[in-house]
Symmetry: C2
Subunit: 256 residues, 2 copies
């Protein structure tokens, strides 16, 4: 991949000790096909022997493994920890049945997310059975709250006046992700008012081209969040989702 690293941004800064081991773990997780020791040494800008020692630590704890000569990869233990953690979360267990119903009913992807700062963080997800097209959303992933139905569904309950909504928008600028993204603070605040009025939020290809979404806010004992159905615009137009909002609401209400 000719992709200059974005997140790590550490290609320059001198990593030491534990930070390097963690950077190595993250680097490994970015490579589903695995990588050789030299590749990793280059990526981390460190000596081979250092990376070798770091790989030793990771291997010892099961977080990394050597699949074959020249192919180090993330270990089973890493995945086990993450998946067990996820399935042990009470909130995930609570919303999964509802998400399964939604995914099956619409044949599209259902999500559960919470608000964190200016982003929504996905906490659970169900792909439809027929789903062949892959959406680039992952559990633990983020999207700007402003440009998503889930974000708006949650925020509408906290920003009760236009002034507050405009202020929040000003504090959380958003990039023009698609031609439909509402970058104007005033327009966005107006959209939020409609959300408050109708009791649900939509995202008309504001976050990703060709993808629209409907969401309603839910409150669980673990806190507040939102459930949504994200659909391919050409297959399930937004109007279809809106027509069925009562079904979505009913399923969401079934979350304890």
């Amino acid at each position: 991949m000719a992709n200059p690293e974005d997140t790590a941004g550490a290609a320059d800064a001198r990593l030491v000790g534990s930070d390097r081991v963690l950077a190595l773990l993250i680097e490994l997780a970015r490579r589903p096909e695995g990588a050789s020791l030299d590749d990793l040494a280059v990526a981390l800008n460190s000596a081979k022997s250092t990376v070798h020692r770091a790989l030793g630590s990771l291997t010892r704890s099961g977080l990394a493994t050597r699949e074959s000569l020249g192919r180090y990869a993330v270990g089973d233990e890493f995945l086990r920890l993450a998946f067990e953690y996820q399935e042990s979360r009470p909130e995930a267990a609570r919303v999964m049945p509802a998400l399964r119903q939604l995914a099956e009913r619409f044949g599209e992807i259902a999500h559960y997310a919470v608000l964190e700062g200016g982003d929504v963080v996905y906490r659970a997800k169900v792909d439809p059975a027929a789903g062949s097209i892959r959406l680039t959303s992952y559990i633990g992933g983020r999207n700007p709250a402003r440009a998503t139905a889930m974000g708006k569904a949650i925020l509408a309950h906290h920003l009760s006046t236009t002034a507050e909504a405009v202020q929040w928008a000003a504090d959380h600028p958003v990039e023009q992700r698609t031609p439909h993204t509402l970058t104007s603070d005033a327009e966005w605040a107006a959209d939020l008012a409609r959300v408050r009025e109708r009791g649900f939020a939509v995202d008309d290809q504001e976050n990703e081209p060709g993808i629209n979404c409907i969401a309603v806010r839910v409150v669980t004992p673990s806190g507040e969040g939102a459930v949504s159905v994200s659909a391919l615009a050409y297959r399930t137009p937004l109007s279809t989702l809106i027509d069925c909002v009562d079904e979505v609401r009913a399923v969401a209400a079934s979350i304890i």
Copy 2:
């Protein structure tokens, strides 16, 4: 300074540097509820200040986060890395559609696993829509190959004679996990012969009480593995699964 604690059990004697940071990450992942700094310091048998520094490393890379005062937890980034990695694996993408079909058809859990040493390692999984009862299987998790249908389905193709099967069994002893576990090497080898003959393997509550399972071997460009349907015995008796083996085979054959 004789430090007379080589505490028994999980926490090893003396963790240093990176190993401690990784141990901390693993400890955090074991606690969906989160933990305070002091709790973690006790669990790792290290000084608070040391754990504090380690938490700093983890937080900096997004693998840990402080949810509130006294509650450190695994960070979103940890989950994102694991889930993105999993969904990027070609083999997972290949088998998921088949697993979804199986889970929907039987209303039970469908798995894909590969053989690693004497264990099967789960690589993909689909829960049924109606699924309320939680099976304790996680992606990245393991079970003894001897006591599982998937393990037997794979091994039957590699141990072509009774002698080989007995030898393999002797090399990989298994504990009596349930009353049905075949701990006798000879009996197990006989069972394996039946697998070879019929072209599919079953697990009649050998691994977990009340759970039976049917599995067939599959070969993909990424290697060999097995797909299975695991069912609650009282809901879907083994005979039902066996009656439908042709369906299972057909779905498995659809995996490219």
